[in-house]
């Protein structure tokens, strides 16, 4: 089996490292490990990696600071944070520190593998053409002609709705924090107008989703932000 990418696992708990090392290796990843943030920083500078799996809760430097340090020197390296449920602050802080994504412990290995693969693709892939047509499931967005089709049928969006959808689809599979989304679409002076954003997301869901209450494309990350599914409803997100 060809290597799916070179991954560095950073966690202070050795049983988790052992389990991840063996399962991810079995799934075709080339895996290495580090027990602390300090060690991880050294490793990423010595060796090129495709993705780093970083525990938020570590003694010493801690996951968030390690993430920030790594991000400073490696803007394209995929960083995936491991968090515990109920710590929404950690998640937002991780994303603000430059992480691409997070996954909540305990996780299903298949979901983790899918997220790592996505991170590897992003970090190794060439710069994406911003004008290229984006396709997720049966939704197709043409940035140049500003057209959206769902299952071949055109769907009409207002200019702001289109910009919001375009930004989310361009980062499909990744969580985008409320603040980042507001700033990217409405401008740098925005950041805390959550109700505003929520109203727009509801409009998008009405037009895109079969069941707006249980969306399959435009997903909510509670307290964090929104994420456009990376694949259609058939695949696991």
């Amino acid at each position: 089996m060809p290597s799916q990418g070179k991954v560095l696992i950073v966690d202070d708990d050795s049983s988790i490292r052992r389990a991840l090392l063996n399962t991810l290796h079995g799934m075709g990843f080339h895996v290495e490990e580090a027990a602390t943030g300090e060690a991880a920083l050294q490793r990423v500078h010595e060796d090129p990696y495709d993705a780093v799996l970083l525990d938020v809760n570590m003694p010493g430097m801690g996951g968030i600071r390690t993430c920030r340090e790594i991000r400073k020197s490696m803007p394209r390296l995929g960083i995936l944070m491991l968090t515990v449920r109920d710590s929404e602050n950690d998640k937002v802080m991780a994303l603000d520190a430059g992480a691409d994504d997070y996954i909540t412990k305990p996780f299903n290995i298949r979901e983790l593998a899918a997220r790592i693969r996505a991170a590897v693709r992003r970090s190794s892939g060439s710069q994406v053409d911003p004008d290229a047509v984006i396709r997720v499931g049966d939704i197709e967005l043409d940035p140049v002609r500003r057209l959206v089709h769902k299952a071949g049928e055109p769907v009409h969006f207002t200019p702001k709705e289109f910009d919001l959808l375009r930004y989310l689809m361009a980062h499909a599979g990744l969580p985008i924090t409320h603040a980042r989304l507001l700033r990217a679409v409405w401008g740098p002076e925005y950041g805390s107008e959550l109700e505003y954003l929520r109203t727009f997301i509801r409009q998008l869901r009405k037009k895109l989703e079969e069941t707006p209450a249980a969306p399959v494309y435009l997903l909510t990350d509670s307290h964090v932000g929104y994420r456009f599914a990376e694949t259609g409803p058939a695949g696991s997100s």
Binding site: D13, S15, L20, N57, V84, P106, R198
Partner: protein, 523 residues
């Protein structure tokens, strides 16, 4: 009266700066003592002696009429300054007699008819009257000033001593003897309306107690049947908080009002201190609980993560026989079940406190539904959730985290026990001051005997134990969450109509909703 006033002052610790005033006051008191009743005879005698002395000296020195007249005049003025008008009148009569006999020619004879006599007497009398009037007025002012100063000093002393009261103890038993001591009043009674408590001291304690209560309930100042007895309601802002009743000869209304204000402030200070301490203790307990629970969460989730990683990794690798695969799947399922149980136990522990601290904010019900569904997405397995339009305009004032958890439990419960493939409906309405959410599912009904008990911790209905894996905690968490918000939960279940769980929260008042509207309603 002046003597008592003086002793009252002597009891006060005085600062060096007031010592000069103190000395001045001694003089005033001396004059006043001299002017008392027995002073009249002494005043007349002193005036007579002075006139005799001046007569002797002036006669020997052969002073002329005008010089000796001036000397007599001086004596009359001094007597009227020191003693007063009547003493000065007697003195002036004697002085006019001496002037006539020794100095008005023909010398050493009485010339009654001489108009000079009447002019001199009138002059002396006029001087005596004017000077004594001025003197009396000055002394009266000094007296009033002294009284005022004494009152201010006593109030200052009361204010100072209030600062040193032990705020951890009851204030009433401390402040009542303090007022009695400082103002030298006979009896004091303090009614604290918040604690419904009376502290009283002195011989008229019972009578004053009743008077204080009356003053509080009538919200006014009352004057007692006996003299020098007052009761005054204690107010903070416009709110009455108690009443103070006093009986004491030296007390006037002017003193009563500031004493009442100071007492009200002392009560309020103690009260806010107690509230602060209570809030601080609650905050620390909450912090400790959060720290312990976070530690526990980490301690449980770490081995669970390792187990699930390994079990799901084995399944993913796909190199096992059917039997091995089944065993690995069992480990994976049970690890997930254990994870769920851990999560719910921790949630339970978090809201299972007498005084759970809610992080209340204005939050739309739609957001709560989104939160709940997002957490529960994986377990839904493509189940249809229908959210009625009735929900979209609803808002509640509560803790988003806890309310979303409750909703999640209902949705999970519905998806677990309903007919597979049937939709789950979330709807809502506002009714009689409550915001009511209804989570409806189709499927077999819950037996009437179980409808109350399913909200109990770890209770699972007989049928469901064999049908679906559950922890028996979910609905009790939802119930706790509702109760923490002052709300309630119940279930309606019929044979052909399915099962509906209701979750009712008291509607936030408009003021509560508006108060947080400006601050950004979400964390």
């Amino acid at each position: 009266m002046k003597i008592e006033l003086d002793t009252g002052l002597a009891a006060l610790p005085l600062h060096a700066v007031t010592r000069a005033r103190h000395r001045a006051r001694h003089w005033t008191n001396y004059w006043q003592a001299v002017r008392s009743k027995s002073g009249f005879v002494r005043g007349c005698l002193a005036g007579t002696a002075a006139v005799a002395l001046v007569t002797l000296i002036a006669f020997r020195l052969h002073l002329n009429l005008s010089a000796s007249g001036s000397l007599y005049f001086l004596i009359v003025v001094m007597v009227s300054v020191v003693w007063g008008f009547w003493e000065a009148s007697v003195t002036s009569l004697i002085a006019v007699t001496c002037l006539n006999y020794f100095f008005v020619p023909p010398i050493l004879t009485w010339t009654i008819t001489d108009p000079q006599n009447w002019v001199a007497l009138a002059t002396f009398e006029a001087a005596a009257l004017t000077v004594s009037r001025l003197s009396t007025r000055a002394q009266g002012q000094a007296k009033a000033e002294a009284r005022q100063r004494a009152r201010v000093e006593k109030l200052y002393e009361l204010g100072r001593r209030i600062l040193f009261l032990d705020r951890r103890q009851m204030i009433g038993p401390q402040i009542v003897p303090l007022i009695q001591e400082i103002f030298g009043v006979e009896s004091v009674a303090l009614f604290d309306a918040t604690l419904a408590r009376v502290d009283a001291t002195g011989p008229a304690a019972d009578e004053l107690e009743q008077l204080a209560r009356n003053a509080y309930f009538q919200d006014s100042t009352l004057v007692g049947d006996e003299a020098h007895t007052w009761a005054h309601v204690l107010r903070l802002g416009s709110k009455p908080v108690g009443a103070l009743a006093l009986r004491g000869a030296q007390l006037g209304r002017l003193t009563m009002l500031p004493v009442a204000s100071l007492t009200a402030i002392a009560l309020e200070r103690a009260r806010s201190f107690q509230n602060e301490s209570r809030a601080e203790a609650a905050r620390q307990t909450e912090q400790l609980r959060t720290a312990v629970l976070d530690g526990l969460a980490h301690a449980f989730k770490t081995p669970l993560t390792a187990i699930r990683t390994a079990s799901s990794g084995l399944l993913e690798a796909g190199r096992m026989s059917a039997g091995d695969h089944e065993l690995a799947a069992l480990i994976d399922e049970q690890a997930e079940h254990l994870n769920r149980l851990t999560t719910e136990l921790l949630q339970m522990a978090r809201i299972d406190a007498d005084e759970v601290r809610l992080h209340r904010a204005r939050v739309s019900v739609l957001t709560l539904v989104e939160d709940a569904l997002e957490r529960h997405r994986q377990q839904l397995h493509g189940r249809r959730i229908e959210v009625s339009d009735t929900v979209s305009s609803l808002e509640v004032y509560g803790d988003r985290e806890i309310l979303a958890t409750a909703l999640e439990q209902f949705i999970e419960n519905a998806s677990r026990y309903s007919t597979p493939g049937s939709p789950i409906t979330v709807s809502g309405e506002e009714n009689l001051g409550e915001t009511i959410l209804a989570i409806h599912n189709e499927g077999p009904p819950i037996r009437p005997s179980d409808r109350e008990r399913i909200f109990e911790r770890f209770y699972r209905a007989e049928e469901s134990r064999h049908r679906a894996p559950g922890t028996g905690l979910g609905l009790s968490i939802a119930k706790k969450a509702a109760e923490a918000h002052g709300g309630r939960t119940w279930v309606v279940s019929e044979e052909n109509a399915g099962t509906t769980f209701f979750f009712a929260l008291p509607r936030g008042t408009r003021r509560q909703l508006d108060a947080v509207a400006g601050q950004g309603s979400d964390r």
